[in-house]
């Protein structure tokens, strides 16, 4: 009798456990893979006629088999008064719901960035729980942002992924653009340290008559408004100034007879450390950039024996002067043309000397234009590759 009761009890509790598994195992609104379209990137333009946002959304195309040539992408266009509105309006022409958790890229047209600012656009992407804060935001140098996403990548069929991968490896390989996660960009926009935002710039170029995307330097902002661009070459020197170089190439002219030759020496950067410091004597601020770079001599376009010590010394001297010159020029250009602190000098001062910063921060952008800069580069050439 008693065993019978226990058996019934056991059976009952097993039933309860099973029913709990069924009831408690998922959320109310289960979404299967067949009900979502995974978004890889979004391009944002302004429709001039009705002033709506125009979204070009790149989604993974999972319909075909993945065997031939990897995953393809599809383009969905949508329009709306706000970003969220536009995202929802896309559903009008889709059976599946857009899913943003894997989004890697937002492309913003330079017209919006210049005229309206980027903060209102990024708000939804940061506020909504689906997009990850680490996606990249880039500025399209083409007429519209759509052109970027509708072009093609050389390696990947999915343009957003191509751009994201290029950005990710950039400061280790070419050092030609700025790689910054969007939450860090928002930190700069909302911070009180006078920092100016720098975002990567992207354009289209032709590769074997095919329109492909390419990163092309960086875009400089004042507040959240686009001011202008730095070329890839200038961006490299900018990256030296903010200590974000992890690799890349430096070229210099070198000729003992004729000083005005073309660049013919190539350094391959292995390691770089930029130390920034400043001195303030009561009314003038001077900023020092101590740049210590470990390089290899990767290409010598002139007939000299680079195994000789004095030749290496000569090369170093030339490199130091040319490098300081070029970095100074970039800093000067930013100071005069843009007048906003992209070099994080304000951040440096506010962290080291909050009292001084509270004095300076009032008119920081004006003050920044008149700062003296001293560049002190130092190169260590560790090898000359395979040949003497």
């Amino acid at each position: 009798m008693l065993t019978g009761v226990i058996a019934i009890k056991r059976l009952f509790s097993i039933l309860l456990i099973i029913s709990l598994c069924l009831l408690l195992s998922g959320c109310w609104n289960y979404q299967g893979l067949n009900k979502i379209s995974i978004v890889s990137g979004v391009a944002i333009d302004r429709n001039v006629d009705n002033h709506n946002y125009q979204l070009t959304i790149e989604v993974f195309d999972l319909s075909g088999s993945g065997k031939e040539g990897g995953t393809k992408s599809q383009i969905v266009e949508a329009e709306g008064a706000t970003i969220y509105d536009a995202v929802r309006n896309a559903k009008k022409r889709l059976t599946k719901k857009l899913y943003f958790s894997d989004m890697q890229l937002v492309v913003i047209s330079n017209q919006i960035a210049r005229e309206e600012g980027i903060q209102p656009i990024l708000d939804w992407f940061m506020r909504n729980e689906k997009p990850r804060e680490t996606f990249a935001t880039v500025i399209s140098q083409e007429k519209t942002a759509k052109e970027i996403l509708t072009a093609s990548g050389v390696d990947h069929k999915i343009v957003a992924e191509e751009i994201e991968k290029i950005l990710d490896a950039d400061n280790r390989t070419t050092a030609s653009t700025k790689n910054i996660d969007t939450y860090k960009a928002m930190n700069i926009l909302q911070g009180k340290e006078g920092n100016a935002l720098v975002l990567p710039a992207v354009h289209c170029t032709s590769n074997q008559d095919k329109k492909v995307v390419e990163v092309n330097g960086c875009a400089i902002f004042k507040g959240d408004r686009l001011l202008g661009y730095l070329s890839p070459e200038e961006t490299r020197y900018y990256l030296f100034a903010v200590d974000e170089i992890e690799g890349g190439i430096l070229t210099f002219p070198f000729n003992e007879k004729n000083q005005d030759t073309q660049d013919n020496l190539t350094f391959e950067i292995f390691k770089n450390k930029t130390k920034r410091s400043y001195s303030y004597d009561g009314n003038r601020l001077k900023v020092f950039f101590d740049i210590k770079t470990t390089v290899a001599l990767g290409e010598v376009g002139i007939d000299i024996d680079v195994s000789k010590k004095d030749n290496i010394e000569k090369i170093k001297t030339v490199a130091v002067t040319v490098f300081s010159d070029r970095l100074q020029t970039v800093i000067k250009k930013v100071q005069t043309e843009f007048g906003c602190d992209v070099f994080e000098i304000g951040t440096m001062i506010s962290k080291k000397d909050p009292a001084l910063w509270s004095q300076l921060k009032e008119n920081w952008n004006i003050y920044f234009q008149g700062i003296d800069v001293e560049v002190r580069p130092e190169f260590e050439i560790i090898n000359t590759a395979l040949t003497k």
């Binding site: 959320c27 804060e133 996660d181 939450y183 928002m186």
Partner: protein, 377 residues
């Protein structure tokens, strides 16, 4: 009054012993209780990079008031706050204190529960009604209350190992994302602002440990209550500071201040290669473990209060009843997450009678009572 080890028979004639917890378990309980929803809500308090100073001051203030709590336990060992209050102030005032403290335990459980249901709704299950999540969570804490405080204390020891491991894990994995200089400049906010933030942190979470007075009858006479409280608050504060610094160094001040749930946001950003990304789920269960511990402890306190108030012997019958009140309070106390955040400001005033006035009154009464006793004997 049931003494330790005393054999009692309940109404069904089954022999049961009074449940006791060890000192280590008590310390772990306080630590996890402090971790609870504070790690979830982020302890930002508008102080930016200086918030860790506010946490330190809050913890010091919390330790000071905990000396009062510990003293009460020392004077009346193996008895809980409700018993002590009745013994000191007599039936009527004693009952009043019981009602107030029971209400506080219920309300605290409801607050924590709401924090979690809002959190889960915002980050994961948007369309699931919060009521459903609350019921599920209360089923677990109710089961915990059913099983008794010994089970809870053993569970806490396991849970705290997991919590520590996950915090350590996320700190190590975030190395690539951290900006150490985010902590600079130190003390840009003035002392008054940091002071008021630390008062907020004193009320939530450090002085909330007053709840443990209601469970004090399970603490052995031989264990030092001062040690339990101070170790618990020290370890709890350390882990909260580590969590805060991790969030600060990953997110930076503006994002940290903007996020409702900074720990979660920070975990979303952690990414080492492609391998260790999307680890927010670990943080998720970490936070939920803390929440379950905190709600369970409050539930125990509320049940004990109700038992003594209405002279009920077995707590099992009233678990449902109390859980139901918690559910109702939790469901109807706010209309939105904004109100929930705003309430922290009100809370620090609201909590004063429960966290300071009543314990201090009980303490003074206890001192007088024990002195008198000593004189007469």
């Amino acid at each position: 009054m049931i003494k330790q080890g005393e054999v009692v028979t309940n109404e069904r004639g089954i022999v049961m012993q009074k449940e006791m917890i060890s000192m280590r378990q008590a310390i772990c309980m306080i630590t996890l209780f402090l971790f609870g929803n504070s790690a979830l809500m982020g302890m930002g308090s508008g102080m930016g990079q200086d918030a860790w100073i506010a946490i330190v001051i809050g913890a010091v203030l919390g330790s000071l008031i905990s000396l009062v709590y510990a003293r009460v336990i020392r004077l009346f060992p193996e008895r809980n706050l409700y018993d002590i209050a009745q013994a000191i102030f007599g039936k009527i005032i004693g009952k009043l204190i019981i009602v107030l403290m029971t209400w506080y335990a219920i309300h605290l459980a409801a607050l924590v529960l709401r924090n979690y249901s809002e959190f889960i709704q915002i980050v994961a299950l948007e369309e699931t009604p919060q009521l459903a999540m609350m019921i599920v969570m209360l089923l677990i804490t109710g089961y915990m209350a059913f099983s008794g405080i010994e089970v809870l204390s053993k569970w806490v020891v396991i849970a705290i190992v997991l919590v520590f491991m996950v915090v350590l894990f996320t700190v190590v994995l975030s190395i690539k994302q951290v900006t150490l200089t985010n902590i600079l400049p130190v003390m840009t906010h003035d002392f008054a602002a940091v002071g008021s933030a630390s008062l907020k942190l004193f009320a939530f979470p450090f002085a909330e440990t007053v709840i443990f007075l209601a469970l004090a009858d399970s603490i052995k006479k031989s264990d030092n209550p001062y040690k339990i409280y101070l170790y618990g608050i020290f370890i709890g504060a350390m882990i909260l500071i580590v969590t805060f610094l991790r969030n600060l160094m990953i997110l930076g001040v503006p994002t940290l201040e903007k996020a409702y749930f900074p720990s979660y946001t920070a975990a979303r950003i952690i990414n080492i290669g492609e391998l260790f990304s999307r680890i927010e789920i670990t943080i998720f269960y970490n936070l939920i473990l803390g929440g379950i511990a905190k709600i369970s402890i409050c539930l125990f306190a509320a049940i004990k209060g109700t038992e003594i108030l209405f002279n009920i012997k077995s707590n099992k019958k009233i678990v449902f009843f109390i859980s139901f009140i918690i559910l109702l309070v939790s469901r109807y106390q706010y209309n939105s997450v904004m109100e929930m955040i705003k309430f922290i400001d009100i809370y620090q005033v609201y909590a004063v009678p429960f966290q300071i006035v009543i314990p201090v009154l009980v303490w003074i009464g206890a001192e007088i009572k024990t002195r008198k006793k000593r004189k007469t004997t």
